[in-house]
């Protein structure tokens, strides 16, 4: 990591990832809350504030280039990007991952490349960082639940990783498998989903220049709650396609069964392209709420392929997107 990561003078040592004062603060908060209830007076702190500041180590990524993607977009604040996460391995509440993933260790890390490849291999995260020059990509992210963000990812095209993996002619699909470690991911013990989290892409989707492997955001190493050390970002698809904490990449000739397809086949399909015309049984997909706009921000219209139609629409010519949702 030392090759690519620089520390800011203000950064804490790794031995202090969760400094004792964080825990003490929590204790104090519980005490104060209890006392104030006893006194019959709700104090201005505690009950009336839901933002518990988490002291996390933030590391800048030294070498990455800017790109023109999304340069005109208004970024979703860092605070929102890192505290509003769907990452069920760490809890189903949007706030849970930011707290529950504090102690998660994204290094050392190896990614296993298997299936229809010339030679199965293991790549360390350090080597993955060297696969291709890192660049910033500002992408819109549309969640299937009807909200969206604009996130400045740091990463590299998935195509570069695939070239390095040397898939054979049998590789028609790529499967991404996330870590499912009961010890570091508390909610993996609960069978809410069929762990490990599995996602997949068709080969041409995976090779599309828009598809990236993200290793950072806001110029910093990817926070644990956003999928450290490495996650998939496919900006024209609903957010759940972006598998986090990837440990295995498998090339196959058959369409993989993804976690959400198993959980609700009538709600989640393999393609999961953002499509304002194909409604979800629960959520309106024709409009979305941009996170960070505050209490009085109206919905905005959702665009076909999340506004990336120009780059990706040709991948689906002749396909019925109502059936292949």
């Amino acid at each position: 990591m030392a090759l690519i990561v620089t520390r800011r003078a203000s950064d804490s040592l790794s031995s202090e990832i969760t400094p004792p004062h964080v825990f003490h603060n929590r204790r104090d908060f519980i005490k104060t809350a209890g006392l104030s209830l006893l006194a019959g007076a709700a104090t201005a702190s505690g009950l009336f504030s839901i933002n518990a500041e988490a002291a996390v180590q933030r590391q800048k990524i030294a070498g990455f280039s800017k790109s023109s993607y999304g340069a005109d977009e208004k970024l979703t604040p860092y605070e929102d990007v890192t505290t509003y996460n769907n990452y069920y391995e760490f809890g189903t509440g949007k706030n849970d991952p930011a707290h529950e993933a504090l102690l998660f260790k994204p290094t050392p890390w190896t990614v296993s490349i298997e299936g229809a490849v010339k030679k199965a291999k293991q790549i360390s995260i350090e080597d993955i960082f060297k696969i291709a020059p890192l660049q910033e990509r500002i992408y819109r992210m549309r969640c299937v639940e009807g909200w969206s963000m604009v996130i400045p990812w740091v990463g590299f095209p998935l195509a570069d990783l695939i070239k390095c993996a040397e898939p054979t002619g049998n590789a028609k699909y790529v499967e991404f498998i996330s870590l499912a470690d009961e010890r570091s991911m508390p909610r993996v013990r609960v069978p809410i989903l069929d762990w490990p989290y599995t996602e997949g892409l068709r080969m041409d989707e995976a090779m599309n220049p828009l598809t990236i492997m993200a290793v950072g955001l806001y110029g910093e190493m990817l926070p644990n709650q956003n999928g450290a050390p490495m996650r998939l970002v496919v900006p024209w698809k609903y957010g759940f396609k972006g598998a986090k904490a990837i440990v295995k990449i498998r090339f196959t000739d058959k369409m993989p069964q993804t976690t959400w397809m198993k959980a609700g086949p009538n709600e989640y399909g393999f393609y999961a392209n953002v499509n304002p015309e194909v409604d979800h049984p629960r959520w309106t997909q024709s409009s979305e709420r941009r996170i960070g706009g505050g209490l009085f921000s109206p919905r905005i219209k959702t665009k076909m392929f999340n506004g990336y139609a120009e780059q990706v629409a040709q991948l689906y010519t002749g396909m019925d997107l109502r059936k292949n949702y």
Binding site: A44, F48, S49, T83, W147, P281, I291, L295
Partner: protein
Amino acid sequence: MLPAPSKKQIFWLKGVIIAIAMIPLIRLFILGWQDSLGANPIQFVEHSTGTWALVMLLITLSMTPIRLLTGLTWQIQLRGMFGLLMFFYVCLHFLAYIWLDFWFVWEDIAYDIGKHPFVLVGFSAFVLTIPLAFTSNNFMMRRLKGRWKTLHRLVYIIAILVIMHFWWLVKKDITEPFIYATVLAMLLGIRIYFNYKKILKKA
């Protein structure tokens, strides 16, 4: 056992309960003022008002089981107030939905209600609470006589619709709606058990 509270005591008790019941609303205002309702403040307001409406509904429905289990009757005098507190939070919940969530775009609201089952059951429950709220006073109670009781049995249907609304909203982790459903099942179960006993006695 403590003696039943006097009329005056009930009056004051109601005042205290109403004041306590306003805390969730005041909390929303304070959090909103501080801009600390989280990343998705609109959803926060919707979930908070919805949850408190459900809590008030379950409290309303627990007055009779308390009577059946303990023989106490004075708490029945609080039932109407709890029902109205539920209606209060239901109205806030609906207002948050049509205003903050959809900005009064009626076309989109109608589509959302028609298309998504969880919204439809929630909306139905809201519509059904309106006649109950307007007939909850003593005047209407006297005027409607026997029909009042029949009308207010709608609350059981409302409760079931509300649980469905919550259950279908949740994507995967049903822990929370399950807890509320269990409480409702217990409250209804106690009624059924005592009714059944009564019927057996008569027979």
